[in-house]
Amino acid sequence: MSARYGMVIDLDRCTGCGSCMIACAADNNVPVLPKATARTGLTPLLVRKVSNALEGTARREAFIPIMCMHCEHETPCVTVCPQQAVEVDKATGIVMQMPQRCLGCRYCMTACPYHARYFNWWDPAWPAGMEKSLNPGVAVRMRGVVEKCNMCHARLHSAQEKAAALGKREIDPADYVPACVEACPTAAIRFGNLADKNDPVSQEAHSPNAFRFLARLGTEPKLYYKSSEAWVRALAESASGPVPENKSSEKKLAEVQHG
């Protein structure tokens, strides 16, 4: 039976500590490039701070971890890739990025409505000796390819190998937990099989406060968010998804509120 792995991120629990970002980057051998900026760096998972644009005691802030949404239907990056370097894995539902096939045309980056893809502008490099701290389960990506969150595919491989060694066809769910989920100190990020109705994450994805960013596009993202605050849920349908608080979230929110 094929799984549909997905996440539910409870924004009421997110304190914006950034553990998920750092654990993700460390586990996936993301290089630290001095030349990279916020626009040109690699950040498979980025925590954005947003606000309700009000002042004083009425002001509210929230933190939104943004990564690949693993769209299920008409996946924009898959549709535009001329190299078949992106595909939705039939067995898991994970949108896979294969750097070996990528030509670096960046069509997928343009097509992605969530801005969750990043381009390797430089050869990966680390300070002298720091390459010894790289995760041996994840290959280092070369210059000139696009990359993104692949739900810690190396961890899925490990779980599959472990299951195979035990003569099992199905993995133990406890063996496959992405780094961000493992790192979250408040258990705000939960991971599970959305195709399994008995999975708590699947049930949570259908709770009243759950929502998906840009759901109107019909791409059926497998990342769900939850918030008890209406203004946070309103951001989900803003013109270009969540944007950082220090850029134009106020403007986007005003657009939503005033049509």
């Binding site: 304190t15 070996q100 050869d123 010894k132 701290s133 100190p185």
Partner: protein, 575 residues
């Protein structure tokens, strides 16, 4: 056979068409991509068997249990350990990149004397000479370890002083030491039981205490609910991360926390909202309102809200005596859900921020935060794993500035992350006693020495860290109390020998004196509040970065915080 121009064109076109429908160009393209990933200058992960070990993080005194994935003898991944009952599998954000710190470009690799490089022998000779010429002071930023015992014994033996630098959690408990005589290092917060927590600027969700303890508790009992089991009220001048997630945010003018505490206490006493009696604060409600920028009605509402759900406890971010006095009025001292005494054995420390006597030399342990610079003309020997660059020369905690202060005369390279065998005593502000051992999983690629090892080499008669750890394990076994938390939880009384206990601790287990659900409370912990204390300004909120003692950040953390605009790293810390 004559080959015409037409034949040549036909042949070329056929070859081109054949090549296109063949897999060759696609294979070449694919292989080129793979080759280009394997250029010799592209770093490759270390090959070798992957091993998983367990230890404790020693980058700050919270001592969270860490699960370390090792490949080819080097740590390649860090995660939390769920069996630790305190950290409960959580780590601070910086812990996840800590294994990169040992390769940080600012890693201290050689002994430095002034602006030139020197040798360990020269440093030893200089320090031994200083010890023979006059009093020395040893400064420790992580008291209670076996290494701390070595340093204290050395200071006492050589007629010197042993002083400590403690974090904001312990500093906030100092007023209770004044009122009760019980050392602040023996006190902790029983946060597992209050129904209301009023934080006066303490970043409870952003780097206060052991990372997993309060964040997990808050997530279980307070998050995602408009009427939570635990009401977190954050008093903060700005909408901090804790304030953003709190049940209620009380914005006050910066430095007016003491006035708010006095105002709340006055309402509690006037309206008899609490059973305890105490001295009425001299400040009127109107004065408190004027100082805090709140209305008198909002202070009354706050007091009634606190009294409505008890046990309630107030947590300060610094040694603000007014907030300690509020806790006495609330009945939150020495009781369930308040401030409890966890140990009878702890002793008071002298802060390194206190005025210094005339000294010949100062020895600073690597656990001391980089921005601490003693206000003295003595020769300074500073151990550090990373060079934090020039400091601003200013002292901590708002003491008078001294332009002549200097980071160090001698900079001595100390072991980095997981490079030193040490023990992990109870973390600050915990209501229960804990003990763990952090084994040196990694061999330092540089010639480093710990501060304790350095003084051991000068005075070989002193006990070593290893022997003290051995003795402490034997003492724990002899007491036959507490439990050992590893994959399974085992009462110490059921262990066969002290050696078994020590073996488990070396493998990453954690000893806990009593369960968090039932922290030890001593009846003789009582605070006398004879008069309302003089108001003192609280310091600003601190957070993960401010609480981080190393002068550098893990490179990934620095990069990602910059890219996400999530945090502004302090200027003194470089990526």
């Amino acid at each position: 056979m004559k080959v015409t121009r037409r034949d040549l064109l036909f042949w070329s076109a056929g070859a081109a068409a054949g090549l296109i429908v063949s897999p060759v160009p696609w294979k070449v393209l694919d292989d080129t991509s793979i080759w280009s990933q394997n250029w010799p200058w592209i770093p490759q992960p270390a090959r070798g068997p992957v091993d998983v070990k367990q230890s404790s993080c020693t980058l700050c005194p919270n001592g969270c249990s860490v699960r370390v994935r090792m490949a080819a003898g080097w740590p390649v991944g860090i995660s939390g350990v769920a069996t630790n009952p305190i950290s409960r599998g959580a780590l601070c954000p910086l812990g996840f990149g800590a294994h990169q710190l040992n390769w940080h470009p600012q890693r201290l690799r050689t002994v430095r004397h002034g602006l030139s490089t020197s040798t360990w022998d020269a440093a030893r000779a200089a320090f031994a000479k200083a010890c023979s010429e006059g009093p020395v002071m040893v400064v420790d930023g992580y008291p209670g370890r076996a290494a701390s015992h070595v340093l204290e014994t050395f200071a006492q033996k050589h007629g010197g002083q042993y002083r400590v630098i403690v974090g904001p959690e312990t500093r906030a408990l100092a007023p209770y030491e004044t009122m009760s005589g019980v050392p602040a290092s023996a006190l902790g917060y029983d946060l597992e039981h209050p129904q209301t927590i009023v934080s006066f600027g303490a970043p409870l969700l952003d780097g206060w205490g052991a990372p997993g303890r309060f964040t997990r508790l808050w997530a279980d009992r307070a998050a995602s609910s408009t009427d939570p089991q635990l009401r977190l009220i954050q008093v903060d001048p700005t909408l901090s991360r804790t304030a953003a997630r709190a049940w209620q945010w009380i914005p006050v003018k910066a430095g007016s926390e003491a006035a708010l505490a006095a105002g709340v206490a006055r309402v509690l006493l006037e309206e008899r909202l609490v059973p305890a009696r105490g001295p009425m604060p001299p400040m009127t409600l109107a004065e408190a309102a004027a100082q805090t920028g709140l209305t008198t009605d909002s202070i009354r509402d706050l007091a009634r809200t606190i009294a409505a759900r008890t046990p309630a406890v107030a947590i300060a971010n610094d040694d603000n005596p007014s907030i300690a006095a509020l806790n006495v009025i609330l009945g939150a001292v020495g009781t369930r859900g308040g401030i409890v005494r966890r140990s009878k054995a702890a002793k008071p420390y002298i802060s390194a921020d206190a005025p210094l006597p005339s000294l010949r030399a100062v020895l600073i342990d690597s656990s001391v935060p980089w921005d601490f610079t003693p206000q003295t003309d003595a020769e300074i020997f500073r151990f550090a794993a990373w060079d934090g660059g020039p400091t601003d020369g200013g002292p901590r905690n708002g003491a008078a500035s001294n332009a002549s202060s200097k980071p160090a005369d001698w900079l001595l390279p100390a072991p980095g992350f997981l490079e030193e065998l040490t023990d992990v005593p109870t973390a600050p502000a915990l209501p229960v006693e804990t003990y763990a051992v952090a084994v040196n999983l990694v061999k330092s690629p540089h010639q480093t020495h710990s501060t304790a090892g350095f003084v051991n080499s000068i005075d070989p008669a002193l006990p070593t860290t290893e022997t003290i750890i051995h003795t402490r394990c034997a003492d724990l076994f002899r007491e036959h109390s507490g439990t050992l938390h590893a994959q399974e939880t085992t009462p110490v009384a059921k262990l066969a020998s002290a050696q078994k206990l020590e073996e488990q601790l070396w493998k990453g287990a954690v000893w806990v004196g009593s369960e968090l659900a039932e922290p030890h409370r001593s009846a003789n912990f009582r605070c006398e509040l004879k008069e309302w204390p003089t108001a003192a300004a609280s310091s600003r909120s601190e957070n993960w970065l401010a609480a981080w003692p190393a002068p550098v950040l893990p490179p990934l953390a620095a990069k990602l915080y910059q890219d996400s605009s999530l945090r502004e790293p302090p200027a003194r810390r470089n990526s």
